[in-house]
Amino acid sequence: MSIKILQVDDDYINNMANERLLKKLGIAFESKNFLDPTEALDYLGKETPEFDLMLLDINMPRLTGWEFLDQFENGGRFPIFMLTSSLDPGDERRAKEHPLLTGFFVKPLTKDSFTKILQLANIQVELT
């Protein structure tokens, strides 16, 4: 089974590194990446694509991760995880209280953190 992942992060290197990690872990996946959050919103508004999970950054130009969630009208169809470089405990507190978020993780994505994401998203995959 292939996991469908949506990545919204303006940092290309991060998106690429995440994909490399998944490959290295032997996970079959399909990813769609957006460097511009507004484009992601447009896409999600027009289409009704089904994803198994979404990785969302906080600090992005034009629209922050929080603003993205505010404007994401059809949220709740798939689990969304905040993946950020922020060390601000306030962000973590806010994420825990946000109804659209399933989890909060600090970059970089690791084998342990991704295992946790899969658990929270109820996805059964065997990692190598």
């Binding site: 940092d11 991060n14 590194a17 600090n59 922020s86 060390l87 601000d88 405990p89 970059k107 970089p108």
Partner: protein, 516 residues
């Protein structure tokens, strides 16, 4: 009705003699009543009216008209236009004129006239208290002399009664005077112009006996009975001052026999004869030692309060009911930077009419305190560089923490308002510095947390993808290991740094008991 006219010379002589007596009685009355213009005016008016009535009766030959004769006098009495004395006076006058008139004509007073006057006078007596006998005296020919006798007797009796009454009044007055001077703690006495004792109250007698050991009697020279020369000189000087006609009030300290310091207040008044000549002095002495002690204590308390006000580091201002500044302490002047100039030191203002206070809205704050009794606590920045400022200050800006509250009297009415001011300029400055610094720290934390950490996270992520075992040689493998470790160390340092910056200690808000 006419009673006829006896024509004998004896009758005429008697009549003339009686007329003379009546004239004397009238003159006596003028003297006694100190007759004024209105007395004569009334007499002339009534006489004229009665002459008119009498003439009318003769002219018409109708005697009933004579019954109208007493009407004017009675009417005046009833209408209260003139006093009984004035009416009586007028009656004498009328009688004299009539009696003369009748005598010249050789007529006797008509009986009806006599009856009507008696009746009229009776009514007057009943109404206003005019004496009937006085009127009878002047209207009945031949009876005037005997009535005069009775009147004199009566007058003597009256004088005796008056004297007895006045005696009684005098006794009462003396009793009152005695009660007045005895029911007091003050010493009261009088001396003549030779400083000899005339009279005094019991308190003075006792005091004198206590001080001198001698009994005081009228005529004792009070100066020579004094032992100390200084005391003699003192008393002579103030006695002489009073004897010169001056009212003297003086405070004098003396030591009692028990070595106690006493303060006396003496009031000396010259006694004068009706011709203005001074024949002695009355003296009243009050022991005001306790009053002086209280005054001294009050002054000490005031001085203490002023000391507290002027030495406390908080500015103090007191405003009256209208908002005028009554009192301001030294700290307030220092806080406001009032220039060391006498005019400025005593500068006053009204909280409702000061342009600087109005521009800051403080007039409304004071209005709340004055009108609703609200206690106000506020922080206020005074910028003296604005055009509205009229304060003569050396300072440019002052930040004050102000507590404004009303003072009430027993009827719960606001009688004054107090403003306590604490200067917080330095604290405010420090607060602003700290806020600026805090803001910069937050910006720094954000930079670390989001901007700097992003590439670090990427490096960690990327380095973790490089496996040492995939390296061509051992050295490269070692480099890969060190790169991985170093990036993790760098990330750890960043995390700790961020934690230190964003740490918000709670010890400032909550006291933790660390003792146990």
């Amino acid at each position: 009705m006419k009673s006829g006219s006896p024509d004998t010379p004896i009758f005429k002589s008697v009549s003339r003699a009686l007329l003379l007596v009546e004239a004397m009685v009238f003159a006596f009355m003028v003297y006694q009543t100190e007759a004024k213009g209105n007395f004569f005016l009334l007499a002339i008016l009534q006489t004229l009216l009665q002459l008119v009535i009498f003439a009318l009766s003769k002219w018409q030959n109708k005697s009933w008209i004579e019954w109208l004769i007493p009407i004017p006098a009675t009417s005046f009495l009833v209408l209260n236009w003139f006093s009984p004395v004035e009416i009586t006076f007028a009656a004498y006058c009328i009688s004299l004129v009539f009696y003369s008139f009748l005598l010249v004509r050789g007529e006797v007073l008509p009986l009806i006239y006599i009856l009507s006057l008696i009746l009229g006078s009776g009514i007057s007596e009943y109404i206003k208290g005019v004496e009937v006998d006085v009127i009878l005296l002047v209207i009945i020919p031949g009876m005037g002399f005997s009535f005069l006798f009775f009147t004199v007797l009566r007058s003597l009796q009256k004088t005796k009664n008056d004297l007895s009454l006045r005696n009684k009044e005098l006794e009462e007055s003396q009793l009152n005077y005695k009660t007045l001077i005895e029911n007091t703690n003050s010493l009261i006495w009088s001396v003549d112009k030779d400083y000899c004792f005339l009279n005094g109250n019991t308190a003075f007698y006792l005091r004198y006996e206590f001080l001198t050991g001698k009994q005081l009697t009228p005529g004792t020279n009070l100066l020579t009975s004094l032992k100390k020369n200084s005391e003699k000189e003192f008393w002579k000087s103030i006695y002489d001052k009073a004897l010169s006609g001056e009212q003297v009030t003086i405070e004098h300290e003396s030591v009692s026999l028990s070595e106690k310091q006493l303060t006396w207040e003496y009031m000396l008044n010259p006694m004068k004869l009706p011709n203005g000549k001074i024949y002695g002095i009355t003296i009243m002495a009050k022991d005001i030692s306790k009053k002086r002690i209280f005054e001294r204590r009050r002054q000490e308390n005031e001085a203490l309060l002023n000391g507290v006000l002027n030495n406390m580091p908080i500015g103090f201002q007191l405003f009256d009911q209208q908002g005028n500044l009554l009192l301001s302490n030294q700290a307030m002047k220092i806080i406001l930077g009032i220039k060391k100039n006498e005019n400025h030191e005593h500068r006053t203002f009204n909280v409702f009419h000061d342009s600087l206070l109005n521009s800051l809205g403080l007039n409304k704050v004071f209005a709340d305190v004055y009108t609703h009794g609200i206690i106000k606590n506020l922080e206020m920045e005074f910028d003296f560089s604005v055009p509205e400022n009229t304060w003569p200050t050396t300072r440019r800006k002052v930040f004050l923490e102000m507590n404004i509250f009303p003072l009430y009297n027993e009827e719960k009415q606001i009688i004054a308002v107090v403003c306590l001011s604490n200067e917080i300029t330095r604290r405010k400055h420090t607060e602003k510095l700290m806020l600026d610094q805090n803001k910069r720290l937050e910006e720094y934390a954000f930079t670390i947390s989001h901007i700097l950490r992003r590439p670090i996270a990427n490096i960690i992520s990327l380095s973790s993808l490089i496996k040492p075992e995939d390296m061509k040689n051992e050295e490269d493998a070692q480099v890969a290991i060190f790169l991985n470790e170093s990036t993790h160390q760098l990330d750890q340092i960043l995390k700790e740094l961020n934690q230190n910056i964003t740490l918000k200690p709670d010890y400032f808000y909550e006291h933790k008991n660390t003792a146990g």
